[in-house]
Each structure stands twice: as C-alpha cells, then as structure tokens.
Symmetry: C2
Amino acid sequence: MQDYHDRLLADLKKSMPIVIGCHCAVSYSGRAESYLDYNDCILIIKSDKTILVHQTTGNNPINYMKPGTTYTLNVADKRLLIHAEHRQLKEYMDIHVTNIYYYNAHPLAPGSTLILEGTEKDMVEAIMNKPESIEEGFKPVSTEEHTKYGFIDVFGNDTNGTLCVVECKRYTGDFKAVDQLRRYVEKIKDAKGINTVRGILACPSITPNALTMLQDFGFTHVALTPPKRLAKYNKAQTSLGDFHKS
Amino acid sequence: MQDYHDRLLADLKKSMPIVIGCHCAVSYSGRAESYLDYNDCILIIKSDKTILVHQTTGNNPINYMKPGTTYTLNVADKRLLIHAEHRQLKEYMDIHVTNIYYYNAHPLAPGSTLILEGTEKDMVEAIMNKPESIEEGFKPVSTEEHTKYGFIDVFGNDTNGTLCVVECKRYTGDFKAVDQLRRYVEKIKDAKGINTVRGILACPSITPNALTMLQDFGFTHVALTPPKRLAKYNKAQTSLGDFHKS
DNA sequence: GGGGAGAGATGCCGC
DNA sequence: GCGGCATTTCTCCCC
C-alpha cells in the first residue's frame, strides 16, 4: 500500500489522469452528507483534480468532487487513506482503500470539442429559418429576448400582428414548460401594457395534464421535433463506415 | 489491436467492468447527434453494459450510452471499431480506437448503497418534527399531497387556520421554485373553492428577482437550510479518523 | 460570481 | 411504461 501511496502522490503532482480499481469506503461532507460502506469501486482522478467514484452499474458516479480538489494521502492499518478537500466549496471526501485491483496513470492529451446537434438552440434556429413551422404567417422578431422574468426563446407576431411568445422544448412538454411560458407571457403583457399576448409551446409532444393547463391559459401547442443535422450529414456519405475512415 | 479485440470480446461476454485509456473518435446518434474527433479518452464499460467516454477534465462523460447497450467489435486499418447499440432507445455509438494506452478488466462486486442526508426530503421531515421552523403556530397536515398539478411538499394551517402550501428547496430559490409554488396554491384554491391560500417557499436563500415575483403573488420566503444529520453523527464520534477505523 | 435555463440530463418513486 | 420532480444535479451563457 505504501508503494501505491507513493505512486499516487507522484501522479497527482504531475496532474496525471489516474484510474484505480479498488475496495474502499467513502464519506462525503459538503452540500450534503453521505457515507458509502466498503465495496468495489473504480476511482478516477482527472487532470483538473476532479474525482469520480464509480460502481459497476449506472451512468453516474456514486460520489464525486469537483475540479480544483486537493489531496492528502496517508497509509495506516494497511489502508490507503485519501483525503480530498475543496476549500472554496467547503467540501471534503474521505476514501479508505483496503485493496487495489489495478492502478493506471498515463498522460492523456486534452480532449477535442464535442459537436452536438439537435438541441433546443437548433430548434430555435430551425424556426427562424422556417417560421411557418410555427404557423402560417408567423413572423419571428428576436431570439433569446431577455426579460426580468427570464429569456424568451422566440418572440414574434402572428398573421394578425398579435405578439407571440414561443417556448421551445426538445422533449415532451410538461408543467414546468407551461409555467415558464406563462411567466414570459405575463411579463410581456406587463412590460408592454397590453392584454393580448399569445403563448406557444413548441415541442415534440406534451403530457395530458400540461396540455390541460396550457389550454386553461389559452396557449397553443405546436408539435415540433428538434432537427438532427448530423443525421443528414451522415446520410450524405455513402456509409457511416466510409465516413469514419476518412 | 487484434489481441485487444479478443480480450474485449471475452470480457464483455463475462460482463466484466472494463477501463481503457486510449486514442479514439466517437460518433453518436439517437436523441441527438454528436461527433467527437480523435483524442485521448478513458472508456469505461460497466457490468450492466453502460459505456462512459471521459476526457481528462470535468465531471461528466463527453459521450455515453445507457445500461443495456450491446456491442459489436471489429478490427480494420489497425483500428479497433466498437459499435455500441441500444435498440429499445434507438441509439447507437461508434468508437474508433487507434491506440490503447492501458486496458483493465477485473471482476468487481456489486456496490453498496449510498447513505445520503441533507436532501429536500430531510427538510420536509425536519419541518414535520419542528413546525415552528416555518412560523409560530404552523400546523402541518400532510406531506407529498398529490394534486393534479403536482405534489405538495408540506400542506398545513397557520395560527389563523389559513391553508398553507409549503414548497421546500435545498438550494437558492429561483423562478422555477416560485412557479411551482404558485401552481400548487392556485390548484388548491381551485380544488377547495377558496380564495385565501398562503404560499410559503422554504429555502436557504432566494434570488432577488424570484423574491420580487414571490412577493408579487403575496407569498412568503422562510429561510431554512437542509439538515445534515450525518454531520451530527460524525461529531458524536471522537474523530473522523476513529469513525472510519471502526 | 450570481442569475437563468438547457441537458442526448439522470434517477427515484408512484400510478 | 408515463408522469412528476429532485439532483452533492452539471454545464453554458450572459450580466
């Protein structure tokens, strides 16, 4: 265990990304408090001193600390004690390691940037490029309009010149989406001193209860699905395999 | 690369948790579309066939697939091609690996359960145990009251017998919290056919804009911080070190 | 750094 | 499975 202590200390100093398969217990104190009994885990300490404690299932770490954590190491009772502390965030984590199955530290170059398409922002762009997807005669005026009660996705006029607030969701519309739309509509009415402002929720689908609430407020649901532009790009290639070989 | 192909195939068959430090490119298609150019990554494939693609910084994986993903492997042009597909979710991911820095697969026992304290649920319990923390004379009636517009954290009466809806947030109160509270209050008014229902937002702090909105609706903010019971437990021990050695 | 809101959110519980 | 909602949410953008 003393060997691992020395290696970990050196690798932390070099800001090396570290992966450890081990048997350990974890306690955390900060925004909340947690305790994890001794069990098998995968520990990942990244170059930015983020630490993730992963178990053998699930998407999310069972425990973690944010970037900028500092580490203090000790060996006692044949155990490696890792004290991870984040002073600014007033958080700490203690890991007691009894057994290490594997230990890997290897220099890794900083990552590439992910290209992501099909987000809500892409929905907004699609509406700006094709306003009739909201309804015939819709004329968008602005996007990301800032009000004191939040940011409005798309702001525009319908064919009658009535002001329209459009809120986009890439997923099934719910209460929260209707709440948000309502907040914007009310604030616009208040700010402009007018009584008639339409609320339009653009999303692929909507829950029955949210639809009821939407209609209670006199708002409209428009079925819209976020575009996935990379799909088109991939289709333009003869095949996915060829695309990647390039 | 053929050796790694064979090892990975065998380890996947055994549902072994696998960690790979490598140079790779990743493309994803499903709920959205993404492409990540060749770069250094840590790949983690868990026992439940979750895959995480981590870079050297940050809390979250840059790419991932959920539990239940199936894998198809190939070697071409000295590259290991990992095709990960989730048929139910209609998602897939392609990883092209050009270089492997380390490869680890080791049987890990299923994890322990995390004990977590200081959640919103703990706030609700604390209020039930000490109703005067909301205000003098407050009498809680129920928790998790189900309405058609959502679940009410705490429902009760003030010293005048006026109905009170209490919404708890463990973090700084914001617009969304006020929206939620408002939705419950309105629904209760509607359901009970009464005009006077008080809304109380219990949270450690509140943003200035949210406070304005709260007050516009005639609601109240009560400063409450989520309890952290493990902190007390740890204090009861002579020291944290002793606690862990037990 | 705080406020506001999206996320390929995830995860939990209830119906 | 969907619905509703918390999360040690995380992350990004903008002031």
